[in-house]
């Protein structure tokens, strides 16, 4: 262990996150993690302004070794001890503030779902064309009275109230604000 420590010059790379200039004469006073640790990045898109105090303590050598997109502070797994659920709540908040209306799309029988950004489409025909490409199916002809005729595939969506609606009934702008997710139903199964 000790030999390893010397080779890696652990003292220089040590993640001492205390204030710069802290005198640490005794071994006991050093923060205990003298090992090289992988730092897992929690927020990949997180770009924090580099804090000068931090970069004095952190050696560039250590960070480069980890080959990590670097926030000002390397993030430790599970620290601070905040429950994942709680963390995700606030990350989600940030996501919803950004532009784009990403919703999940499922198709009956498909092994996995897709995600699309509704804001990228100009209207229903644009959306349906893309969906048909993505999932390799064809919708029937839409008419107000009977819905989609001529295909076993029917595009539906879940609205804000939790109800499953037929795609195409409401004006496009109303649709993109109220659509929570899409589901391409197959066969004559009822919603």
């Amino acid at each position: 262990m000790a030999a390893q420590g010397e080779d890696l010059n652990l003292e220089a790379t040590e993640l001492r996150l205390g204030l710069p200039g802290t005198v640490e004469s005794e071994k006991q006073q050093m923060p205990p993690s003298g090992r090289s640790m992988k730092r897992n990045l929690i927020d990949v898109n997180d770009e924090r302004e580099s804090n000068k105090e931090e970069s004095d303590g952190l050696s560039a050598q250590n960070c480069d070794k980890q080959d990590v997109h670097r926030p000002s502070k390397a993030q430790v797994v599970g620290w601070p001890p905040v429950r994942s659920y709680r963390k995700n709540c606030f990350q989600k908040k940030v996501e919803s503030e950004s532009t784009g209306a990403f919703i999940k799309v499922s198709m009956d029988g498909a092994p996995y779902l897709r995600k699309i950004d509704l804001k990228l489409y100009k209207g229903y025909s644009d959306l349906l064309k893309d969906l048909q490409d993505m999932f390799k199916f064809k919708v029937g002809e839409y008419c107000e009275r009977e819905g989609y005729n001529g295909s076993e595939f029917v595009p539906t969506y879940e609205d804000k109230d939790g109800d499953w609606m037929l795609v195409g009934d409401v004006p496009w702008n109303m649709f993109i604000t109220s659509c929570k997710r899409l589901r391409i139903m197959k066969g004559s199964s009822e919603v």
Binding site: Q4, L15, R16, L17, G18, L19, T22, V23, K27, Q28, Q29, M30, P31, P32, S33, G34, R35, S36, M37, K38, N40, I42, D43, D46, R48, N51, E54, P71, S72, K73, Q75, V76, V77, G78, W79, P80, P81, V82, R83, S84, Y85, R86, K87, C89, F90, K93, E158, D159, K160, D161, G162, D163, K180
Partner: protein, 580 residues
């Protein structure tokens, strides 16, 4: 107190024999599982009477005992509380698929406890199949509470809503689940009336509001309702007028725009809820409508704002209306100035939890500091439970805080930068935590942080005579630290340590201790496989489980989980968990 103890020794052999049914009648009035454990140790007769009359069993570690053993001992259980994974699994330190699956328990219960009514699970893995099984097999099932569990989806909840005809409680909190749709709520039967507790605040899919409204109207005994953030203010108003008897309310978000009329109606709805004593919700930063809550705040004893990232001024205004507040959970957006408002307005406060709104933000000027904590300790002398996330602290402040409030039972201080010293003196935080354990003689739970040497642990070992739970991270200097704890704290039950320089010497110094504890967790410390093997060899009644630590580069680090058990080594351990 047993009166026979006061008689002289010649008579003490003549123990008064109660007829069994009298004994059982008396014992059936005892609820606390600790009291019951004590009762069961008195004599064989009492052991038997106790086991026949026990209705609720609490299992703090699902691997400490097997469902078969539980069923054999307690034939008449109606309510089970089960805890599974080690607490650090909440922070991603335990790999997925580790275990703690509830299904094996349910299978035995279906056989032995067909009349089971209540199941409360924490950190267990629950699948949709298990939920369906539960709904099918237990005809009298009434209450389901899932906290910090994983493995299920809203499909499983559909089964519960559909098939549990007598359901009174459905409490889904902070679980890692697959939120597919809100359809589960629509699965309650049309004439369903028994619900008393409904908490789906942490689910994000929309539920059908008409179904919810109908449910709330029909369930006249509904006392606790916590909806998710998709419920609008207008919808909330409609729910409240149908359930003015609510005692606990979790609102949706406060984002909707209201007309003046709608605002008045909402205000009246809140005024109508005269029994409300607990309030929570995920309130967004636009806070125009918070004043509708003010009338309801007068009687509040618990305010949970930990999902409401509100600015400090709004929080300050809100708490100013809560003179009877006993418990406050809040984000650090409250800042010191908001805590000052708490101190001035909430003299009855007993519990304060301040969570970080942005745990990874390094900006020292955000959040709370030692001043806020100090202010609360001055204004709220009954304070005994604190969880406090902050970016700076001093020994002097901590010492003064515990001087103001010596009654702390739970002191959990998290200085968010690992190994950070007292920011004024640059010294370790030893003296601060020393003051905590010296002054707070009733301390049962302690979470330490900051730069700490072995001295902190000497203090803890020497003074914390009632300590039951200790959490350590990035602290200590040598084996001696952990040894002091293991030698010193007679009531220690749970010890969890991460990223601290404690090795085999420390681990083995607890040989005499571990069987009196529930569990020990060590990760990113200096224990080696050999040390763990030695422990396992010398203590066959402990399960010593090791997992390779994937977060460490050196390929030699292990996560160690040691716990006492009467069930032997796990039979369901995945390949990455090795029982030594």
């Amino acid at each position: 107190m047993d009166p026979s103890k006061s008689r002289d020794s010649a008579e003490s052999t003549r123990v008064i024999q109660f007829p069994n049914d009298v004994l059982e009648r008396i014992l059936s009035l005892i609820d606390s599982h600790r009291d019951r454990s004590a009762v069961s140790l008195v004599s064989k007769a009492w052991y038997n009477a106790e086991r026949w009359t026990r209705r609720h069993v609490f299992i703090g570690n699902c691997y400490a005992v097997s469902p078969q053993i539980v069923a054999r001992r307690f034939p008449n259980i109606r309510s089970v509380t089960l805890k599974g994974k080690p607490r650090f699994s909440d922070f991603n330190l335990v790999p997925p698929n580790w275990g703690a699956e509830v299904h094996a328990w349910l299978a035995v219960f279906a056989d032995q406890y067909p009349l089971l009514e209540e199941l409360r699970l924490k950190r267990m893995t629950v699948t949709d199949e298990s939920l369906k099984f539960l709904a099918r097999k237990f005809q009298k099932f009434r209450a389901l509470s899932l906290l910090s569990c994983d493995g299920f989806s809203t499909n499983g909840l559909e089964a519960i809503a559909t098939d549990c005809r007598h359901l009174t409680e459905l409490d889904i909190q902070e679980n890692g689940i697959d939120d597919i749709s809100g359809n589960w709520l629509s699965c309650f039967p049309e004439n369903f009336t028994s619900l008393e507790v409904l908490n789906f605040a942490s689910l994000s899919s929309d539920v059908n509001f008409d179904a919810l409204e109908r449910l709330v109207s029909q369930c006249k005994s509904l006392k606790i309702l916590k909806v998710n953030k998709n419920i609008t203010l207008e919808q909330l108003q409609r729910l409240l007028v149908r359930a003015p008897q609510l005692t606990e309310l979790g609102t949706g978000s406060f984002l909707q725009e209201l007309t003046a009329h709608q605002y008045e109606e909402l205000e009246r709805a809140f005024i109508g809820c005269k029994n409300l004593h607990a309030l929570s919700g995920s309130w967004e930063a636009t806070t125009l409508y918070l004043p509708v809550l003010y009338p309801a705040c007068t009687n509040l004893t618990f305010l949970n704002l930990s999902y409401a990232a509100l600015p400090s001024e709004e929080l300050a205004k809100l708490v100013a209306h809560c003179p009877h507040l006993q418990r406050l959970w809040v984000l650090d957006t409250i800042e010191d100035v908001g805590l000052q408002a708490v101190a001035s307005n909430c003299p009855l406060l007993e519990e304060l939890r301040v969570f970080p709104a942005d745990p990874y933000d390094q900006d020292i000027n955000r959040g709370v500091t030692e001043s806020g904590f100090l202010a609360v300790s001055l204004g709220c002398r009954k304070l005994h439970y604190v969880l406090y996330f902050c970016r700076q602290m001093t020994n002097a402040a901590v010492a003064r805080i515990v001087q103001n409030c010596p009654g702390f039972t739970h002191f959990r201080l998290c200085i968010m930068k690992p190994g950070q010293p007292d920011y004024v003196t640059n010294e370790p935080m030893d003296e601060g935590f020393g003051a905590v354990v010296k002054t707070c003689t009733n301390l049962r739970r302690l979470g330490v942080s900051g730069l700490l040497t072995d001295l902190t642990f000497e203090y803890i070992g020497r003074y914390a005579k009632n300590l039951e739970t200790l959490s350590v991270a990035f602290a200590g200097g040598s084996d001696r630290g952990m040894q002091c704890i293991l030698d010193g704290c007679p009531k220690l039950r749970k010890l969890e340590i991460r990223d601290s320089p404690f090795g085999n010497g420390a681990l083995l110094s607890g040989l005499e201790k571990y069987e009196s504890m529930r569990s020990l967790w060590m990760s990113a410390c200096k224990v080696t496989l050999n040390g763990c093997k030695m422990l396992a060899r010398q203590r066959p009644r402990l399960n010593v489980e090791v997992m390779k630590d994937e977060d460490m580069d050196d390929g030699q680090s292990y996560k160690v989980y040691v716990y006492r058990t009467v069930a032997g080594p796990r039979t369901d351990a995945p390949s990455f968990v090795h029982t030594l």
